[in-house]
């Protein structure tokens, strides 16, 4: 696929059929950018430069355009993250229901600040904005899953369940 002879180091999708399927769903190539980025991140953990180059090739545009898109979205990571990503909602309804103490708890327990990863790569902590689940505040998303109505105790137990 790469014409620059660097294909050995380049990123390739392990599931080319899924890539084809994604392209078949859209009337134009560029619309496949975001789904391809999601797919790449689930395979690779983050969006590296070689991921960007590969996707730019596939959707027929300059890598800078794909990079521009990547940098806009908070769910796309340009650096490796911990094995588990803890995202604590900090917006109003969660904040009114104790979200701050959940953040403090992680900070104390694992000695990391928001945006940081533990030395053993177990957890990355993030403060995020409204997760669309304010009725069950405070809400924490860990990896893909929502955990709702958390007390500090429940949260602590939950954290222990992640290796």
């Amino acid at each position: 696929m790469n014409s620059n002879g660097k294909s050995m180091q380049g990123f390739t999708f392990v599931d080319p059929e899924r890539v084809e399927q994604i392209f078949s769903q859209y009337p134009d190539k560029k619309s496949a950018t975001l789904p391809l980025l999601h797919l790449a991140q689930s395979q690779h953990g983050y969006i590296s430069n070689s991921v960007i180059n590969t996707i730019a090739d596939l959707v027929d545009c300059h890598p800078a355009i794909v990079m521009d898109c990547v940098s806009f979205y908070t769910m796309l990571y340009t650096k490796p993250q911990g094995r588990h990503i803890i995202q604590v909602c900090q917006t109003l309804s969660c904040s009114l229901n104790g979200a701050d103490s959940l953040v403090d708890h992680v900070m104390d327990k694992y000695e990391i600040k928001p945006g940081e990863t533990t030395a053993d790569d177990r957890f990355t902590l993030m403060k995020v904005e409204c997760l669309g689940s304010c009725g069950t505040a405070p809400v924490v998303q860990i990896n893909k899953e929502y955990h709702e109505g958390l007390s500090t105790q429940n949260f602590d137990k939950l954290l222990e369940s992640f290796e």
């Binding site: 769903q25 859209y26 009337p27 134009d28 560029k30 619309s31 496949a32 950018t33 975001l34 789904p35 980025l37 999601h38 959707v59 355009i65 521009d68 898109c69 940098s71 806009f72 979205y73 908070t74 769910m75 796309l76 900090q90 917006t91 109003l92 309804s93 904040s95 009114l96 229901n97 995020v128 904005e129 409204c130 997760l131 669309g132 689940s133 304010c134 009725g135 069950t136 505040a137 998303q141 893909k144 899953e145 929502y146």
Partner: protein
């Protein structure tokens, strides 16, 4: 109004309510069968007659919007279901996708048929992974049963539906930001006009509708537009999903007729405020609506008109309740920080102004406030989003309504709770 029976959430809570077999057992897809024998323009007319107004935030007439699709254009038409649900205080679309996904899907197919669309998208916020998986199953079931795909239910109508996941950006809920995002770009809203109905996705006519709006459609078709219009105020009728969160005993989604009083919603439906604390303030329509004081909140009806009269808005019907213990300056900082983080950065007043608000409010909270800070806060909000006075025509300082969405809550908070802001000023300076 005591006779109101839930419409959109009637079956939610029953086992397997998300499945096709359940949905069919309660009359699902009969509206689709009906409209496939109708002329598309008659479907649009029925929706227009129902006076259904959009549930996503702006409250525009759904039937009128569908009618904007140019009849003579030979470009493809697109329908996008806005499932980005990211307005703080709003969590109703998530419930509908979890528990009644086929109701939403049937609404989409009817809408697509009415506007002549053959490829439709569900733009779902990236964080809603569970809901995405449910929708994948919903759509697969629909294809297996000839509800999607070629020659739907024996008609000669074809439709494909694609789920498109967002990736964490509030502004992609704004319809033109959403379209840009779908096209594989950063979600920068477009200047309107042209409106999406004329030039939307890939420059083609596009209708963007909210999950809840689309979920109303099968019921309008089955029970008729006059039935729909008879629920609540005629100019903006229908059932409405109110999301209640914050300082409240029973937070959650409540389906009630449009026009229910906010007092009843808070004290009767949602069980009032924990520990019998006093009500202090309410955001009636998500964090982008102007805040109401307790007095205003207890005297307002939850419909489009009454809230505009109170210089706020119904928006996404996300009701955020604050009790007497809430520090309004902290609340203001929380909201400002949200908008500073979510500004797409395209317009200078919005990009710079939101950051300034956060800086000033942080300084104020930390005891470094200056006497003219209050005036500065007004000046910045007016610069981003104009005055709250609708009659003066406040629109137009920024490319998209996000400007108003930050200016209204912040300005109204400072205006209505000014004393609390003044209290934060260091003593010697507050004397003046």
């Amino acid at each position: 109004m005591n006779t109101f029976k839930p419409v959109l959430t009637e079956h939610i809570g029953q086992p397997d309510c998300h499945t096709l077999s359940f949905y069919k057992s309660v009359g699902g897809y009969t509206a689709l069968e009906k409209i496939l024998k109708m002329k598309p323009e008659d479907v649009t007319q029925e929706v227009k007659d129902s006076n259904l107004r959009g549930r996503g935030g702006a409250g525009f007439s759904t039937g009128v919007k569908w009618g904007f699709i140019p009849k003579d254009s030979n470009k493809p038409k697109y329908l996008i279901n806005n499932a980005d649900e990211s307005e703080p205080g709003t969590f109703k679309d998530r419930l509908l996708m979890n528990k009644a996904p086929h109701q939403m899907l049937e609404g989409m197919i009817i809408a697509a048929y009415a506007i002549g669309c053959h490829t439709s998208f569900i733009y779902i916020r990236g964080e809603f992974y569970k809901e995405y998986k449910i929708l994948e199953k919903t759509i697969a079931e629909a294809y297996e049963n000839n509800i999607l795909g070629q020659n739907i239910l024996g008609s000669n109508y074809n439709l494909d539906i694609v789920i498109h996941r967002g990736a964490g950006a509030y502004i992609c809920g704004e319809e033109t930001g959403l379209i840009e995002s779908l096209e594989g770009k950063r979600g920068w809203p477009r200047i309107k006009p042209p409106f999406p109905a004329i030039e939307g996705y890939l420059q083609s006519p596009t209708i963007v509708n909210n999950v809840e709006t689309l979920s109303c459609i099968p019921h309008i078709i089955n029970r008729g537009s006059s039935w729909f219009k008879s629920i609540g105020p005629e100019k903006g009728p229908g059932p409405r999903l109110f999301c209640i969160s914050g300082c409240i005993n029973k937070p959650g989604v409540y389906e009630e007729p449009m026009g229910i009083s906010l007092k009843e919603l808070i004290y009767e439906k949602a069980g009032g405020i924990p520990d019998d604390k006093q009500l202090k303030a309410v955001f009636p329509g998500g964090s982008s609506s102007a805040i109401l004081t307790a007095e205003e909140a207890l005297d307002v009806k939850m419909d489009f008109e009454d809230l505009v009269e109170k210089k706020s808005m119904l928006g996404s019907a996300g009701v955020i309740v604050m009790d007497e213990t809430v520090d309004m300056v902290q609340a203001c900082l929380n909201i400002a920080r949200f908008y500073a983080h979510e500004s797409c950065g395209q317009c200078t007043p919005c990009r710079e102004g939101t950051v300034w608000l956060v800086k000033m409010l942080t300084r104020l909270v930390n005891g470094g406030g200056k006497p003219n800070d209050i005036d500065m806060l007004f000046e910045i909000t007016d610069n981003i989003g104009g005055l709250i006075d609708f009659s003066k025509g406040s629109y137009g300082k920024t490319i998209c309504p996000f400007g108003e969405a930050v200016a209204w809550p912040v300005r109204s908070l400072v205006e209505k709770f000014k004393a609390e802001f003044l209290e934060y000023l260091p003593e010697e300076k507050a004397v003046a």
